[in-house]
Every structure is written in structure tokens, then in C-alpha cells.
């Protein structure tokens, strides 16, 4: 059998001397604001993507200038938790070195945008000085580990968070490249040949995502991850985790061999064996994942190509023991709980709505300034939610009033004033910085929501909650395939209209109209919402309604042990 050639990225990784490549040289090349082509692959492992301002691309080409290159930097921040001091440091970095905004991602990380090459090192140093790093925030490694930020179930949540943070550390690449290149650590013997006990010299075939969910909330969309852990509580204490494998949302337009896939629940593991299970799943993917074709390289394809039974068998072989049977659990929804909530320890948590996760000072609200003011008086921490929102967590009852006043003053009260549709909507960054974007997302979302709100009004649906998600491309950063309504970008102004996911992150939606522009999208929704207004059951969600009535053909949901048992 002829060997399939490795993808070029595999060769780059292999020759990179543990992710160094020529990054150091690229950074000091004064002739270009870009880095060498191969280095654009490697820098991802360091938590950064080279991008350019696509709004200016054509204009600059005519001006005989290279594209306006800049870099996106993403933090590695398990569970998205930062202290108030760290918040102030990140805010200062965004203001000084980036484009003056902080972007909260759907994976609980911060993103800085618009950092130019000669500021890159300074910026990364400043981030590290705040005791936050960016290593493995992107690249073919385990990415930022997500944890349900629900701080209400205080004790169990703290325990889950702790495991997640330790797992994140355990799966961190061991190369010193990051510290040499960005933090001026001296090179020592063995530099470039460090042992990568988990990853090996070529790391993983593709990105690898892990999430920890704490039922009854599936805010992390655990089934969209390569590897998921669903916390199983016993009398309020953490008993262990159900293990889910093979989730992933990315797809390629027009390639049926690629598709979004939700994870399978494959068993239960006690917390003590968490690392072993994670390592086993990750190394099976390392050894069997597709290294020839990157768009078929995620774990979900390894599992589908070889069979789930084979995969679980291989994992169990590496564990030396079978997984325990999965335990029952149930999710209620995948959204955030907005506003003030009291935790079991008597401290208060305020979930704010941040539209598309973009914190900026702009007309209608100086949110960046407002959060700076809050951080100055806040004695708890901040938690990024997987839905691009922000929790001001751990507030004494006595401090609530002063925080409320700042929320009011700086236009951070969207959680109270915005419609449910707007509060729950997600959009990826897309234009102008994301190189993959085919259509607008973040910049389009506010107007799109307004227009859909008008339809809800028209059909007297009031403040009905509907998950609306917009993505600039089919790769799925805003988890569009789990939206009750989703737009997936195909070309400027044109989207695939996807309909019919549930609201718990357990059922994917389906393509309803292909490659349509806004008028057709609104026209389609208008008709469907009219029917929904007239025919829905009590409390029936729009996505469920579409499936029940057959408007959208049913799609298999994730099999949840609770349902298996009953």
C-alpha cells in the first residue's frame, strides 16, 4: 500500500526543533511585518496567529504595500478565571499593544487583536508578567481547557476547576521554545531536542479540545469537544467524570467527508484516573490520527474511520483496564445565567452580557473602561463564560451596590436590557482579521439580531429564547451547528442557513437553505416563526418545534446515560 504523503504542516513541525523554526529570525526581520511562511504554522503553538486587516488588503496591494499584518494572541486560561489585578494587566496590554479591545472567546480565553510584529515579544512578556501564558492556546496540541464557570455549586465546581487546571498543565508541551523566544530564557543543552513525553516530536495531527461540564448546565458545549468530562456529583461532592470522545464542529464547504460531529459518552472514570484517561485518548489520536489530510485529522474522523468500539478498545488497552459504565446525568441548557446569583458560600456572582465577547469603548458604552473601574474595586475574580460573556464572581453582598452603579454608568447592563435572543447569540470574530472568514460575523451580529427581533415582535413571540449563532466560515468557532438558528458564512453577504439544534448542546442542526443572502434568510425565518407562534407547545423551543413538525428532519441526539437507563 502506497504511503500517503504527510501534510506540509507535519514536515514543518518535524523540522522545527520543538516549535522553534525560524521564529527568532522572523521577529527581527525589519523588511516585513509578517513572519516566514513556515513560522506562521509554528507560532500557533505559542498562542498566536498571523492575520492581516482584510478591509485594507486590496487597497494596500495597489499601494505596493504588503498587507497590514498583525497578530492575534490568545491566552491559555483553564476555565477562564482571572483575578482583578490580572484583569487590569490584560486591559493595559490591550490598550497599549493591541487594538484597544479585549475579546472573550467561546473557549473562555482572551484574545488580543492587532498586535504588530515588533510589539509581539513585548506583549507576550507583559502577558506572562501577569502570570498568564499563551503556550498551546492554538496549534496541534491540547488547547485551552474549558470548565463550566458556574460558581453556584461552589464546592464541586472548585474541585472540577482544580482538576481542569491540573490537566491543562499536565498536557502542556514541554519544549522550552516559548520561554527562549518570548521570555529570553537562556538556551541550555538539549535545546531543540526536549523530550515531549506525551506529544512526541510532531505533536498531534490536529488541534485537540477538552471541556469539563458540571450538570445541569452544558454551557461548555461539552459534546463539541474531542474529549469531554461531565462531572458526576454524589451528595454535592465530585465522584468522578463521564468521558465523552469525538466531538468537533469544523467542516469544509462542499466536502461531504467533513462534518460536525457530537461526542459519544463512552464511560465513567474516577477523578484519580483522569490524567490516564486523557493521556490515553490523546495518544491514540496522536498515533492513529490522519497526518496526511488536515481537514480529516480531528479525533472525530479517527473514530468514525476506525469505529468507536475499536477506539474505546485501544484506549482501554492503554489504560490496562476497561472504563466503568457511564453514569446518569442530565443537562438543562447550554446558556448562561445572567444577573446576580448567590452561591452556596453566600458570595454573589454577576453575569454580564458582552455582545460577541468584544469588550471595547465605543458609542453606547465604554465597557472596557467600565470593567477597568470594576476591576479596581473588585475583590473576587472574573470568569469568562463559554458563551462569550463575563462573570464578576465572588462579590460580598456589601459590594454589590457599587458594582451595580458602575455597570449602569458604563453601559454594561445589557444582561438586563437586551432581549434573550441577543443575550444568547454568539458570533465568531471573522472579518476583518480572521484569515478564514468568508463572510461577516461579529460585525454583522448586532444588526441581524435587531432584524430577527423585529420578526419576533411581529409574531408576538416577545422575549422567547432562541439560540442564534453566526459564523464567518464553516470551521465553527461560534459553535454554529449547535444553534437553533445559525448562519454559516459562504461568501460576503451569503450564508448557509442552519436550523433545528436543541438548546442543550445535544442535537446538531441541519442545513435548511444553502448560500442565501439576508432577505431570503429573513423571509424564511418570518414564515417559520409565524408557524412557531401559532403551533408551538408550552415551553417548546424553536429548534425542537422545527424537528417535531418535520420542518427540519430529525437528527440523532447524543445518547445520554439517563435516557439509556430509563
Amino acid at each position: 500500500m502506497a504511503a500517503t504523503p504527510l501534510s506540509p504542516v507535519e514536515r514543518i513541525k518535524s523540522a522545527s526543533r520543538r516549535l522553534r523554526g525560524t521564529l527568532a529570525e522572523s521577529l527581527v526581520d525589519p523588511v516585513t511585518g509578517a513572519i516566514a511562511d513556515d513560522d506562521t504554522q509554528l507560532i500557533k503553538f505559542h498562542g498566536s496567529y498571523q492575520q492581516d486587516d482584510r478591509d485594507l488588503r486590496e487597497e494596500r496591494r495597489l499601494q505596493k504595500l504588503e498587507p497590514a499584518y498583525s497578530f492575534m494572541i490568545r491566552t491559555r486560561l483553564p476555565g477562564g478565571v482571572v483575578g482583578a489585578k490580572q484583569w487590569l494587566a490584560l486591559d493595559a496590554i490591550a490598550t497599549t499593544h493591541a487594538n484597544g479591545t479585549l475579546r472573550l472567546t467561546t473557549r473562555q480565553a482572551f484574545q488580543f487583536h492587532g498586535v504588530i510584529k515588533r510589539e509581539l515579544k513585548t506583549t507576550l512578556k507583559a502577558i506572562n508578567a501577569a502570570l498568564i501564558d499563551t503556550i498551546a492556546a492554538c496549534g496541534d496540541v491540547n488547547r485551552n481547557v474549558m470548565v463550566s464557570p458556574n460558581p453556584v455549586e461552589s464546592r464541586a465546581h472548585a474541585s472540577v476547576y482544580d482538576w481542569a487546571a491540573r490537566l491543562s498543565e499536565h498536557l502542556r508541551p514541554r519544549t522550552r521554545a516559548y520561554y527562549e523566544i518570548w521570555l529570553d530564557e537562556e538556551r541550555v543543552a538539549g535545546s531543540g531536542e526536549e523530550d515531549e513525553p506525551i506529544y512526541g516530536a510532531t505533536y498531534l495531527p490536529r488541534k485537540f479540545k477538552i471541556a469539563f461540564a458540571v450538570p445541569p448546565t452544558n454551557d461548555v458545549d461539552v459534546f463539541a469537544n474531542d474529549l469531554g468530562f461531565v462531572a458526576i456529583l454524589d451528595g454535592g461532592e465530585l465522584a468522578g467524570f463521564n468521558v465523552t470522545v469525538g466531538g468537533g464542529l469544523g467542516a469544509t464547504h462542499g466536502d461531504a467527508a467533513t462534518y460536525p460531529r457530537l461526542a459519544d459518552v463512552v464511560g465513567f472514570v474516577s477523578a484519580e484516573r483522569l490524567f490516564q484517561v486523557a493521556e490515553a485518548v490523546l495518544t491514540v489520536q496522536r498515533d492513529f490520527g490522519n497526518r496526511s489530510e488536515r481537514k480529516r485529522a480531528r479525533l472525530k474522523y479517527t473514530i468514525d474511520d476506525r469505529g468507536l468500539d475499536w477506539f474505546v478498545g485501544e484506549v482501554e488497552r492503554r489504560l490496562g483496564a476497561p472504563l466503568e459504565p457511564a453514569r446518569p446525568f442530565a443537562f438543562e441548557h447550554s446558556g448562561d445565567r445572567f444577573g446576580w446569583i448567590e452561591g452556596r458560600d453566600g458570595r454573589w456572582h454577576l453575569t454580564l452580557h458582552i455582545e460577541s465577547g468584544r469588550i471595547a469603548d465605543r458609542e453606547g458604552g465604554a465597557q472596557l473602561s467600565g470593567l477597568r473601574e470594576i476591576a479596581r474595586i473588585h475583590r473576587g475574580d472574573f470568569r469568562l463564560t463559554p458563551n462569550q460573556n463575563l462573570i464578576v464572581a465572588g462579590v460580598d453582598n456589601a459590594d454589590r451596590a457599587s458594582i451595580d452603579a458602575l455597570v449602569e454608568r458604563f453601559g454594561l447592563d445589557g444582561f438586563r436590557t437586551a432581549s434573550s435572543l441577543r443575550r444568547e447569540a454568539l458570533a465568531c470574530v471573522a472579518m476583518p482579521t480572521c484569515p478564514l472568514a468568508m463572510a461577516e460575523a461579529e460585525r454583522y451580529l448586532p444588526d441581524l439580531v435587531t432584524r430577527v427581533e423585529a420578526l419576533l415582535d411581529k409574531h408576538r413571540l416577545g422575549d422567547v429564547p432562541i439560540l442564534l449563532r453566526v459564523s464567518g466560515c464553516p470551521n465553527g468557532c461560534s459553535r454554529p451547528y449547535l444553534g437553533e438558528i445559525a448562519l454559516v458564512g459562504k461568501a460576503p453577504g451569503r450564508y448557509n442557513l442552519m436550523l433545528g439544534a436543541d438548546a442543550k448542546g445535544q442535537r446538531l442542526n441541519r442545513l435548511h437553505r444553502e448560500n442565501v443572502a439576508e432577505p431570503e434568510i429573513l423571509e424564511t425565518l418570518d414564515a417559520l416563526l409565524a408557524r412557531y407562534a401559532g403551533e408551538r407547545g408550552a415551553g417548546e423551543r424553536f429548534g425542537d418545534f422545527l424537528v417535531r413538525t418535520g420542518i427540519v428532519p430529525a437528527r440523532e441526539s447524543v445518547k445520554i446515560p439517563m435516557e439509556i437507563l430509563t
Binding site: T32, G33, R61, K64, L65, E66, I116, R118
Partner: protein, 603 residues
């Protein structure tokens, strides 16, 4: 095909041939002509059996007392053109003439000179042209001989929008008198419309020469004069209307300065240029500016005005024939007489130099009329204003790469002052030009700014801002001809992101190895300002090695500060890396300039 037969016909060995190539590399046509005559004389003597080598006569000329020496110092070629014209006329009139560029003039011959005409320009803030630095320094120094036997006249060229108008010509005129020489003719001070002064001065100089030399027997005509190549049917007075092919801004929208890349078609014109040449653009003034001036004077735009047999409407004079965007000292004087404004009077008195400099640099005619109102008759105003001069732009292309096109990099001058928008004349003229438009142009050759004849020579190009234009031409030429020498460019501007002129082309050239090194200085991208001279120092050791290895060094751009700073930085290389004393370093640079290995196109 062409080179090989030539070598076969040559009687020289390969080694001698290489020596000869090295010897003549960088010499200009005048010197080569002279050499040919000199070598012919050597040959004649050898053939006649003379054992002794010939005296190294400086020039195979007639006896000095029987001839007139016309010495010129020229930066942009104007002084040279005037000097050549005078020489041609004198020769046609049967006089013995020696035409010599200042840096080719053997200084020790000055003591024996009988009749000397000097045609010399003044650069920027009172500097001599590069080719006359040595001559001017020598004359000013104590080493200059007494010159009681000498009769002379000086024609200075300059630009009266600078305070030090014709300073060099004036200094030479004064100094020669100090040294005991007698003035044949009052010195001329030619402004940008130089023919107005240069023509009568030349005629007068010619008359005097005829009289002075009449008594002396005319020697054989021996100095072959280089006849300037006719630039076809199109010239300064009759420019070619070149269709605009492209007019593209090449600084980013957030950049401070609007710099345009302009492509013009020369197809069908017969116009030809070499890398290093300039394109003259005959701009006209913006109608809005003309209207504003007419309004400020309370005049009628269609009033007919006749000057020197030329009659046009007032608005036509202003729009097409007169300089409106640059003031001159003589005009200020005339205006001050009418305006009776203290501020103006003070600026024109001794001690007012700074104020004068500020007025000349910041004010346009319209500002002056508004701030210091005065009564002008339209006639007088037109007569007092300087004729509108063409703007010269170093051509940014090689014909070998672009065919019948000429490319320019034009920095648009546009600023707010005195409450209104101001534009430079050429900027206002060029910036709106699009596809359907034409631009009147001519070629202004610049023989002093040429690539090395030897393609194996390395070159170092220092061109911040739009000074980089001719180096785009150089690189295109060297790439097209497959020149083996290495090319090193120094470029600078305020910001990397917005002002990196031709960035993509340099990147491409680096990739294709037609550009071997690019050193950059973006002055405002960090807290401390960094300019090309800093980049030169930073690259000192290697740059000096290139120079030691025979590299030619070119500088193009701002004369006022950049060229001086770069000159100082280059001289420093000889001190820091060559172990020379400071004075010797300057001399080393001067020798490089004389050998045509250090050339500047600064303005």
C-alpha cells in the same frame, strides 16, 4: 555578438583590457575625450621615437594665455548646460576654449590662468554643488594663489526661494577679486528662470572674451567638446504631453504624507532616458489659487498684460507663466516697499534672517497678499514674479524594464496654513491627473548620477523618502542587464506600516536576489528618532568593507539635512573603520566623489 568582435579587434591583452576598464570606469565623457587626445599625443611621440614619456599635461589645450577656461560646478545640470552653451558659442566664434568641470580642474593651474569664466550653482542653504566642493574650498583657503594676471567673470545660479540665493557664485566673485584678479563683467545671479540672466551674461562674456583674446593668436582647436545629446524634438521649452497611465497613492491611508506613484507614457515621443535622469514636469497653477490671488488684488482676471512682447490675460500669466507657490527675496523686497509692514521690513534687514527664512518657507504669494496687503498693478506684479519653472523628478524606472514609460514617485505637498489649504504647484497639478489626462514633460539628463559602467561593481544606494525613486530605476536596470555587482539600499521614512515606499517591490527583489541588502530607518516607530545616517553607522563595518571593495555610493533626497548627515556618517566610516583622521576622511570622500564613486542627486 557586439562585445566579442570588439575585443577581437582590440590589440590589448585580456589583462591590459581589464586594467583599462578599471581605469576608465566612472570617468565621464569629457574626461574620456580628453584622454583620447592625450593618448593620441603619447602615441605620436612614441611613434616619433621619443624615449621620454610625455609631460603629463593637464589638457592638450592651446597655450593658456590664448584661451578662455570655462569652469562649471553643477548639481542638476543647469550650470553645465549654460557653460556648454557658452563654450559652443565661443568656439563657433573662433576662440580657443577649455571647458572643464570644477572637480576635473587642476587647481595648481589657476595661477597661470589668464581668462576664467565660472558658472556655478548654489545648493540648499548656500552649499556648493558636489562637483565644486574642492574648488570652492581651495579658493577660500590660504593656499589660494595671488591672481594678478587673471581676468574673470562669474555667473551664479540659484533659487531665490532660498535665503542664500547664489551665495556660492557671489563668494567666488568676491574671493577672486580679493586675490587680485580683475573682473571683466559684473557677476550674474540667475534664478530658476535662468535664461533671463544667463543669456545676456553669456553674450556679454563672449564679447569680452573676443576682445581680450583678439590680440592673441588663436591656437589650433584641440579640445573636443562634448556635444550634448539632443533629447529629441521635445525639451524644456517644448514639453511632450505624456499620457497618464497610472496615478496611485503608495502611502497608506493613515500615513501622514500622500506620495504618488505616477506612470507616464512616452510612447511615440522619441524621448529616451537613462537611470539617474530626471523628468521635468511643466506644471501649471491651480485655477482656485489664481482666483484667490486675483481676488486678493481686486483685479480682473481677463485684463491683458504685455511683458517682453508677450501678451496674455492676467489669469493666464498667473496660471501658466508665474511662480505662485514659492516666494523669492527680490519679490519680498518689492512687496515690502508697497506694503510698508514692519514685520516684512524687519525680516529684510540684517538680523532678520530667521524671520526671512520662515516667510520664504511658509508663505505663498496669496498668504503674503492677505497678511500684508499692498497695492500692486497687475503688470508690475507679473513682472516681479518669477517665471514658473518646471519641477524635476528623478525617474523611478528603467526603460529596459518598463519600455516607453517613465515612472515617478511624487510626494504631494499639502498643508493647512493661515486658515486655508495649501498645495505645492506640482502637487496640485499632478494629484488629480488620471487616465484621460496628459502631463507636459521633458527629459533632464543627469550624467553625474549613473550606474557604474562595470556591472560587477557593488552599489550602495541611500534614498530616504522619495529619494528612493532613482534607485528603483537602478535596481530595475541592474536586474534587466543581469549586473553581477551586489546592490544595497538604505531607505527611511516616518512609519514602517504606512510609508514604506515600494515595500512589496523591495521584498520581491530581495527574494530574487536582485537586491542583496536593505537597511531601514523608520524615524517615528520608536521613541528615539532613527534616520538613514543611523542605519549607515549601524552597518558601518560592512558598509566600509563594500566601499573598500570598490562599491559606488549614491545618495538621493533632501539636501538640507539628510544629505549632510549622510555625508558626515559616511566620512565617519573612514575614521571608525578605516583608521583615518577626520580631515583625511573628508578628503577620501572627496576623492570618491571625484572618481565618480560617490554621487548625489539632492535637492
Amino acid at each position: 555578438m557586439s562585445a566579442e568582435p570588439a575585443r577581437l579587434l582590440s590589440p590589448l591583452s585580456l589583462e591590459k583590457s581589464a586594467q583599462l576598464t578599471r581605469l576608465v570606469d566612472g570617468l565621464d565623457a569629457d574626461v574620456l575625450y580628453w584622454l583620447s587626445g592625450y593618448l593620441a599625443a603619447v602615441g605620436a611621440q612614441r611613434r616619433a621615437g621619443s624615449a621620454s614619456p610625455p609631460v603629463a599635461a593637464p589638457a592638450a589645450t592651446a597655450a593658456p594665455q590664448a584661451s578662455v577656461t570655462i569652469l562649471y560646478g553643477s548639481q542638476t545640470g543647469n550650470a553645465k548646460r549654460v557653460a556648454e552653451g557658452l563654450a559652443r558659442e565661443a568656439e563657433a566664434g573662433g576662440l580657443a576654449v577649455r571647458l572643464v568641470r570644477a572637480d576635473a580642474y587642476p587647481l595648481r593651474e589657476l595661477a597661470g590662468e589668464r581668462l576664467l569664466y565660472v558658472v556655478i550653482s548654489t545648493q540648499g542653504e548656500g552649499d556648493p554643488p558636489d562637483d565644486a566642493r574642492g574648488f570652492v574650498e581651495f579658493l577660500a583657503s590660504r593656499r589660494a594663489p595671488k591672481l594678478p594676471q587673471l581676468r574673470y567673470a562669474v555667473l551664479g545660479l540659484g533659487d531665490s526661494s532660498y535665503p542664500q540665493f547664489c551665495a556660492i557664485g557671489n563668494a567666488i566673485d568676491t574671493r577672486l577679486a580679493e586675490l587680485g584678479a580683475s573682473r571683466v563683467l559684473a557677476r550674474g545671479e540667475a534664478d530658476v528662470d535662468l535664461d533671463a540672466v544667463a543669456k545676456p551674461w553669456s553674450e556679454s562674456a563672449l564679447r569680452h572674451a573676443r576682445e581680450i583674446l583678439k590680440s592673441t593668436p588663436v591656437a589650433a582647436k584641440v579640445t573636443p567638446l562634448r556635444v550634448p545629446v539632443a533629447a529629441g524634438a521635445w525639451h524644456r521649452a517644448r514639453p511632450f504631453a505624456a499620457p497618464v497611465l497610472a496615478n496611485q497613492r503608495i502611502t497608506a491611508r493613515d500615513g501622514g504624507r500622500d506620495v504618488r506613484h505616477i506612470e507616464l507614457s512616452l510612447e511615440g515621443s522619441g524621448l529616451a532616458y537613462e537611470p539617474g535622469d530626471s523628468l521635468g514636469v511643466c506644471a501649471t497653477n491651480a485655477p482656485a489659487l489664481v482666483e484667490a490671488i486675483v481676488a486678493a488684488l481686486g483685479e480682473k482676471p481677463d485684463r491683458g498684460i504685455a511683458i517682453g512682447g508677450d501678451e496674455h490675460a492676467f489669469a493666464t500669466w498667473l496660471g501658466e507663466k508665474r511662480e505662485l507657490t514659492r516666494l523669492t527675496r527680490p519679490f519680498l523686497v518689492a512687496h515690502a516697499e508697497r506694503a510698508r509692514a514692519d514685520a516684512l521690513d524687519r525680516a529684510l534687514k540684517p538680523g532678520g534672517e530667521d524671520a526671512l527664512r520662515r516667510i520664504l518657507s511658509d508663505y505663498q504669494l496669496v498668504d503674503l497678499l492677505r497678511e500684508f496687503p499692498a497695492h500692486w498693478h497687475a503688470n508690475d506684479l507679473v513682472a516681479a514674479l518669477r517665471p514658473l519653472a518646471p519641477r524635476l523628478y528623478s525617474i523611478a524606472s528603467s526603460r529596459k524594464a518598463v519600455g516607453d514609460e517613465a515612472h515617478l514617485a511624487v510626494a504631494l505637498v499639502a498643508y493647512e496654513a493661515f486658515g486655508s489649504a495649501h498645495r505645492g504647484a506640482a502637487s496640485a497639478f499632478l494629484s488629480p491627473k488620471g487616465d484621460a489626462d496628459h502631463v507636459p514633460v521633458f527629459i533632464e539628463p543627469n550624467d553625474r548620477f549613473r550606474l557604474p559602467a562595470d556591472p560587477a561593481r557593488d552599489i550602495v544606494m541611500i534614498g530616504p523618502g522619495t529619494g528612493v525613486a532613482p534607485f528603483r530605476a537602478f535596481l530595475q536596470e541592474r536586474a534587466e542587464t543581469g549586473a553581477r555587482g551586489r546592490n544595497w539600499l538604505f531607505f527611511g521614512n516616518p512609519h514602517f506600516r504606512s510609508d514604506f515606499l515600494y515595500q512589496v517591490e523591495w521584498q520581491q527583489a530581495l527574494k530574487q536576489q536582485t537586491l542583496h541588502r536593505l537597511d531601514l530607518a523608520f524615524s517615528r516607530d520608536q521613541s528615539e528618532k532613527v534616520y538613514v545616517q543611523h542605519a549607515i553607522r549601524r552597518a558601518g563595518r560592512e558598509l566600509f568593507a563594500w566601499i573598500e571593495n570598490g562599491a559606488h555610493v549614491y545618495v538621493c533626497g533632501d539636501a538640507t539635512r539628510m544629505a549632510k548627515d549622510v555625508d558626515a556618517a559616511l566620512a565617519e566610516l573612514f575614521v571608525t573603520h578605516g583608521g583615518l583622521e577626520r580631515e583625511d576622511a573628508a578628503a577620501a570622500l572627496a576623492r570618491m566623489a571625484q572618481a565618480r564613486r560617490y554621487a548625489r542627486d539632492v535637492y
